[in-house]
C-alpha cells in the first residue's frame, strides 16, 4: 500500500504545475482562439481600429501634446491651448483651421483640436463606467431572477418593462434640474437606469436556458447550494452575452451624454456634446453659418458618431465569438 502511494505521487508531482500558471495558460489560449474568430469579422475589426485610434489619440497623443507642443509655443506666450480656459488673442474667433490651430478655434477662442482630444478619454470613461454598471446589475439581477423564478422573477421582469418604457432623456433632464450632474454622476445614473431595463430581460432569458441544462442538475446532485450554482455555472455562461451587450451600452451612454450636453444640462467642463452646444448657442449652426463654420460642429459630431458606431461594430464582431452557431464552417 505504501509502495503504491509512492509510485502514484512521484510521477504525478512531476507533471502537475501550479494551478495558477495553468489557469493563466488556459486563459491565454482561450483568448487567442476567440481572437482568431473575431479577427475574421470585417465589421468588428473596423470598429476595433477606430476605437484604438481614438484611445491612442485621447490617452497617449493628447497628454504628450499637452505637455510638449501646446504648453510652450514660440509664437506668443499668451496663446494657450488649454481646451477649457485657453484663448487665442491673435485671431478673430471662431477662426478657421490654420497651422496654428489645425481645426480652428471655437467662439470662445479655444483650440478645437485640443478640445476634441481632451474630451476623448472622458467619453471613454463615461461610456465604459456606465456600461460596466449596467452589465453588472443586469447580470446579477437577470441570473438571480432566472434561477429562482416565481414572484422574484415576475417582480424584476415587470420592473424591467417599466424601465424600458421610461422616458430616458426627459428623466435625465429633470434630474439635471434638481442636482449638479457631472460625468461620473451621469455614468452612475445611466448605469443604474439601464441596468434594470432591457439587458436584464435578455440575460434572464439566457439564464433560463442555462438553468435547464443537465450540468446544473449534476451540480445539484453533488449538493451544490444555489449561490454556488449561480456563481460557478450560470454567470460564466451568461458572461459572453453580457460582454456583448456592454459594447452596445457604451454606445448608448456616449450618445446620451452628447444629447444632454447639447441641451446644456450637464455640469461638465468639456465634452464633444458641449462643443456643439457652444457653437449652437453662439448661433453658428443656424442657416448658412452651418457650412461656413463647419469646424465648430463637424469634428465633434463625427467623433460622437464614429466612436459610438465603432463600439457597436465591435459588438457585432463579438456576436460570432459569443454565439458559435453564427460562425462560418
Amino acid at each position: 500500500m505504501a509502495d503504491n502511494a509512492n509510485m502514484t505521487v512521484e510521477p504525478a508531482e512531476a507533471k502537475l504545475e501550479s494551478p495558477i500558471s495553468i489557469r493563466m495558460k488556459l486563459m491565454w489560449r482561450a483568448f487567442k482562439e476567440n481572437w482568431k474568430i473575431f479577427s475574421q469579422s470585417k465589421i468588428g475589426m473596423i470598429g476595433l481600429y477606430i476605437v484604438v485610434i481614438f484611445a491612442v489619440a485621447g490617452f497617449i497623443v493628447y497628454p504628450i501634446l499637452a505637455a510638449t507642443v501646446w504648453k510652450t509655443t514660440s509664437l506668443n506666450a499668451m496663446v494657450s491651448y488649454n481646451p477649457v480656459t485657453g484663448y487665442d488673442f491673435l485671431q478673430n474667433n471662431p477662426a478657421a483651421p490654420s497651422w496654428a490651430h489645425l481645426l480652428g478655434t471655437d467662439p470662445l477662442g479655444r483650440d478645437v483640436l485640443a478640445q476634441l482630444l481632451y474630451s476623448t478619454p472622458r467619453e471613454f470613461m463615461l461610456g465604459i463606467v456606465a456600461a460596466l454598471i449596467t452589465v453588472i446589475i443586469g447580470t446579477l439581477i437577470g441570473t438571480v431572477a432566472a434561477y429562482f423564478g416565481g414572484a422574484l422573477d415576475t417582480f424584476f421582469m415587470r420592473l424591467a418593462d417599466i424601465v424600458l418604457l421610461f422616458p430616458f432623456i426627459p428623466f435625465l433632464i429633470v434630474i439635471s434640474g434638481m442636482m449638479e450632474v457631472d460625468l461620473l454622476t451621469l455614468a452612475l445614473i445611466i448605469g443604474l437606469l439601464s441596468g434594470f431595463g432591457g439587458i436584464t430581460i435578455v440575460l434572464r432569458s439566457q439564464g433560463l436556458i442555462i438553468k435547464s441544462r443537465p450540468f446544473i442538475e449534476s451540480a445539484k446532485v453533488s449538493g451544490a447550494s444555489d449561490a454556488y450554482i449561480i456563481v460557478n455555472h450560470i454567470i460564466p455562461n451568461v458572461m459572453p452575452l453580457s460582454f456583448l451587450y456592454m459594447m452596445f451600452n457604451v454606445t448608448g451612454a456616449i450618445f446620451s451624454e452628447a444629447v444632454l450636453s447639447f441641451f446644456g444640462l450637464l455640469n461638465i467642463k468639456m465634452s464633444w456634446g458641449l462643443m456643439i452646444y457652444t457653437a449652437d448657442t453662439a448661433g453658428y449652426i443656424i442657416g448658412s453659418n452651418i457650412w461656413n463654420y463647419w469646424w465648430l460642429w463637424l469634428p465633434s459630431g463625427a467623433s460622437i458618431t464614429l466612436l459610438c458606431g465603432a463600439f457597436y461594430f465591435i459588438g457585432r464582431g463579438l456576436d460570432e465569438v459569443v454565439n458559435p452557431r453564427l460562425r462560418k464552417r
Partner: protein
Amino acid sequence: MSDNEVVMKVENLNKFFPMKKSVFSRAKHFLHAVDDINFEIKKGKVLSLVGESGCGKTTTGKTLLKLYEPTSGKITFLGKDVTYIQSSEDRKWFHSRTQMIFQDPFESLNPRKTIFDIVAEPMNIQNFGTLRKRELMVMEILKRVGISPPDAFLWRYPHELSGGQRQRVAIARALVMKPEFVVADEPTSMLDVSIRTQVMKLMMELIKEMNMSFLYITHDLAVARYMADEIIVMYLGRIVEHADSEELINNPFHPYTKALISAVPVPDPEFKRKSVEIKGGIGKPIDPLPRCRFYDRCPFAMEICAQKEPELIEVGKNHKVACFLYNQERR
C-alpha cells in the same frame, strides 16, 4: 456493511406536479408522474426502471436524488430516513454518497469548465480533501474509466472530446467520491453503437469493483436485461411488473410487458416476429381515475379493470404483477 444490506428503500413514493395556469393561481389538476412506487436495492445490485416516455422512470430517479421533493412517501438510504432532509450536515452526508449519470454527454458537462474542474466538482462542492488530493483522485478515476493518459486530458474542454469520451468523463465525475448509490438515466442512448457497448461494459466492471448499488433507467428492455439484476416495468407512473431480469424477459405476465417484449425488433431477418396488438398511444396521467391505467389499450381488459386499480401481487419467486388477470378478485 454486510452484503445483504438494503442501500436504498422506497415506500409509497408519490410525485405529483400541479398544473398551474400562472404563478399566482391555485392548481386544480395534478400530473401523477410517480404514483405509489415501492422497491428496495441491496448493496452491489442493479435495478432497472424500464418504460416508454412519460412513464415516470426519470422523475423517480430524480426524486430519489433530491432534484425533486417527493409529494409523499418514504425514502430510506443506508438506514436513515432521507425523505425530507433539512440540515446541511444531513445534506452533505447524503450528497456525498449518491450521484447521477445523465443521458446527454454533450449537455451534462459545462462547456466552459476544464475536464479537471468537471470531475473534481463533487469534491469542490463538498469541500473534500486538499487540492493535491483532489488532483490525484481525478487522475486516478480518469485512468480507470479509460481516459488515458489522464494528465493530457485534465486541462482540455468538453468540446475537444468525442461523445464517448465525454460520457466517460461524466461517469468519472459520478464515481470520483466512490458513492454508494448511483442513478444512471439512459447513459448510452445518445452514443454511437460501437461506443455504447464499451460504456456499458465499463459500468458493469465498475459496479462490481466498487460494489455500488445502481438504479439504471432505460426504455430499452434489451439493455436492461444486460445491465440489471432486477427489472421494474413502469406505465404512466405506476409499477406494472417487477421481477428478476431473466424471469421477466422469459416469463412476462402483464400485457404491457408482453407488448414491450414483442415490440422489440429482432436483429435476425429470418425471425418472424409477432407483435401483440395494442391500440392507441400513451396519454398523460393527469388526475387519473381509480382504474387500471392500461385499461384503454389492453387487449384483455375486463369490467373490473375499469373499476379499481390493480395492486401488486406475487405470482412467482420475487415476481410481482399489478393486473386483474392474475388476481383472485376477478368476477
